[in-house]
């Protein structure tokens, strides 16, 4: 790493931790936490509000406060996902898969402890990787084309085999349904309307937020009402809630290599523009499940199912800044708004940003780092009051959860139809749960489908025009190898387990 980068990193660190600039990341983090904990709100709405308010500010405070907005929102969404099965953001959706079952098992504190540790450490890994990659950022981002994106989507889909629970066929059907649901709306190449049944609402396709709210939050509400449990955790008193924050933190270190791999996955996925944070968590979850010797507890309260997505979700924030700063291509809605704020202050992404304004870039990164740690530490102190909520009587909690879900669905795009859509998916989600159809493959396939379809068309077209040779691209070959490993590994591990059983 050249000395210019190290000097800028040192100067940026000094700026963030100097008075009065330290106040900006702290205030930004607290605001982001508040917004991400409130129903229907997220850091993107906060950033949209902050852009006009910070118009007259100097570039440095803007970078500091936006860095905090980017990093401060993720973990609070994980707390609501773990305790109430309601993800704060789409990227927190995967945390609920094992986090919520842990709450039901009375291990809410353990889940939150491991989420906090994985989150803070994951962001640190992400930022360290980003710093190390800064000299190579421009070259690496340009190297990715449709063929690589296509292979990335296929690689993500192959992780579904490990997430299918007891029945691979059911998992594949659920994935097929997820892909089909994603095909609804305009075809990306010909702009033909597909599968809308004449409904205007479906022209733009189904939105991920109401689908997720329905499949997980509303489905669980229905399940809770049908089960007749008196409290969310089934326990009456807070003292009965077992689980230990320290055990949760310790679990991250016990699964340190999984944590590192998940953080690396998060950073890489975050660095790819347009994929979005939710994919990072899902792919890390799939990897955790697939690489585990015994993955039978995934989806039922396995702590590794919390660590992997949390590490990836927070590491991806660092990764998402790579294309934003290097190419001006935002990785998601948050970075898109951040890009808008940068432009308003005359900061142009690209080579100029990475040479003339490198100190500002590092100030942003340290602010992101600080906000992730503040969020995790503050979040941990809020575990007890928040965990107590799981012992409140179901009858009192259900209206709040239902209303949060309704507000989240309606306010996301301002469409009441999204609420009706969430209700439909709530019923589907409940029936899937009741009849042992896995919901995770459906959601992953739904999230990956646009990436798959758009890049399939682009790759085929480029191949027809002889503009690319699919099998001569190194990243494609690497992803192809990973895909083959994904397909072979479950069978190999299954056979290995069978042999071990026979030997015993």
């Amino acid at each position: 790493m050249d000395s210019e980068v190290l000097t800028a990193a040192y100067e940026g660190f000094g700026l963030v931790f100097s008075w009065p600039y330290i106040l900006y990341p702290i205030a930004g983090t607290l605001l982001a936490m508040l917004f991400s904990a409130a129903p229907g709100l997220n850091s993107s709405s906060l950033m949209a509000l902050a852009i006009p308010l910070t118009y007259a500010w100097e570039p440095l405070p803007v970078m500091l406060i936006f860095g905090a907005f980017l990093g401060g929102a993720t973990f609070m969404g994980s707390i609501t996902a773990i305790l109430f099965n309601i993800p704060g953001k789409a990227s927190n959706a995967v945390t609920l898969l094992d986090g919520y079952p842990m709450t039901q098992m009375g291990r809410a504190k353990t889940a939150i402890g491991s989420a906090a540790a994985a989150s803070a450490l994951g962001s640190t890994v992400g930022i360290l990787i980003l710093i190390a990659l800064i000299p190579f950022m421009r070259v690496a981002a340009i190297a990715l084309g449709p063929a690589e994106y296509l292979m990335l989507a296929i690689w993500g889909l192959t992780t579904l085999a490990a997430l299918s629970g007891n029945s691979l066929v059911k998992g594949l059907v659920a994935a097929g349904i997820g892909l089909q649901l994603a095909f609804i709306g305009y075809d990306p190449r010909t702009a033909e309307l597909r599968f809308t049944a004449g409904m205007d609402y479906l022209s733009d396709g189904l939105s991920l937020v109401p689908v997720l709210l329905g499949l997980f939050a509303l489905a669980e509400v229905i399940d809770l009402m049908v089960s007749g449990r008196s409290t969310l955790s089934g326990r009456q008193h807070q003292s009965e809630l077992s689980g230990d924050v320290r055990e949760g933190i310790g679990a991250v270190f016990k699964n340190f290599f999984l944590f590192i791999r998940s953080s690396a996955i998060g950073t890489v996925i975050g660095a790819i523009p347009g994929i979005g944070g939710s994919v990072a968590g899902f792919i890390a979850y799939g990897h955790a499940s697939q690489s585990a010797r015994d993955n039978s507890e995934f989806g039922k309260g396995d702590i590794r199912g919390v660590i992997a997505p949390e590490a990836a979700n927070d590491a991806k924030d660092g990764g998402a800044l790579i294309p934003t700063l290097a190419l001006g291509i935002p990785g998601g809605s948050g970075t898109a708004l951040f890009l808008g704020a940068m432009m308003l202050h005359g900061l142009t992404p690209g080579r100029e940003m990475l040479t003339d304004n490198l100190t500002l870039v590092f100030a942003l990164l340290w602010s992101l780092f600080l906000s992730n740690w503040i969020t995790s530490l503050l979040g941990l102190t809020l575990v007890n009051p928040m965990a107590r909520i799981s012992t409140i009587r179901t009858g009192r909690l259900l209206p709040a959860i239902l209303v949060m879900a309704a507000i989240g669905a309606v306010q996301y795009r301002g469409l009441i139809s999204d609420l009706f859509c969430a209700v439909v998916f709530g019923v589907i989600g409940y029936l899937m749960k009741r009849y042992d159809w896995p919901r995770i493959p459906l959601v992953i396939a739904f999230a990956l489908a646009p990436l798959l379809e758009i890049n399939l068309h682009l790759t085929l077209r480029l191949q027809e025009l002889d503009r690319i040779d699919f099998f001569s691209r190194p990243v494609v070959l690497l992803l192809l190898a990973l895909t083959i490993i994904n397909l072979i590994l479950p069978a190999f591990l299954g056979r290995l387990r069978a042999i071990r059983r026979l030997k015993k």
Binding site: G176, R189, E192, V226, R393, G395, G414, V423
Partner: protein, 156 residues
């Protein structure tokens, strides 16, 4: 009653099959480019649904050797399921008609009194606080108007 449960399970599988078949039928009217990937996925899904159907049949009849019998389904609390749907439908209707401030507040009040059998005082206080919190967040904090519902517009 024991015979009725697998039928419900089959109804769900059948619904998935019908949805997938409809998608396949609908895709026939599309151009080759637009239908290419959907048709491949849909056909594969339909095939897999068929495989699952056969597997389910085999399990029930004990034909498939070496596979465990699926555990007997728990008794379906059908009434509670229907009731939960009614409550969610009520929330949707209240929100649709009265908007995001008053709809959820009214729903909470009815739910707390009707489902949770809470006291009048708690139900009213809960609903009022909920409406105030939502108003505070959207009107004062965000300076945006939340969804207002169709009823106020009709009355004006």
């Amino acid at each position: 009653m024991k015979l009725q449960r697998p039928k419900l399970r089959n109804v769900f599988s059948l619904t998935l099959a019908v949805f997938t078949a409809w998608m396949l039928f609908d895709s026939l009217s599309l151009s080759r480019v637009a239908a290419m990937l959907p048709q491949v996925i849909i056909a594969a899904t339909l095939l897999l649904i068929g495989v699952q159907w056969v597997l389910d049949l085999g399990k029930r009849r004990g034909i498939v050797s070496g596979t465990e019998q699926s555990p007997p389904d728990q008794q379906a609390p059908q009434l509670r399921f229907l009731l939960s749907l009614l409550w969610i439908a009520l929330l949707s209707c209240c929100t649709w008609l009265l908007g995001l401030v008053f709809g959820p507040a009214l729903f909470s009040f009815v739910f707390l009194r009707g489902f949770a059998s809470e006291s009048w005082l708690l139900s009213i206080a809960y609903s009022v606080i909920l409406a105030l919190v939502i108003s505070f967040i959207f009107v004062f904090l965000l300076n945006t108007s939340p969804y207002e519902g169709v009823l106020p517009g009709m009355m004006l």
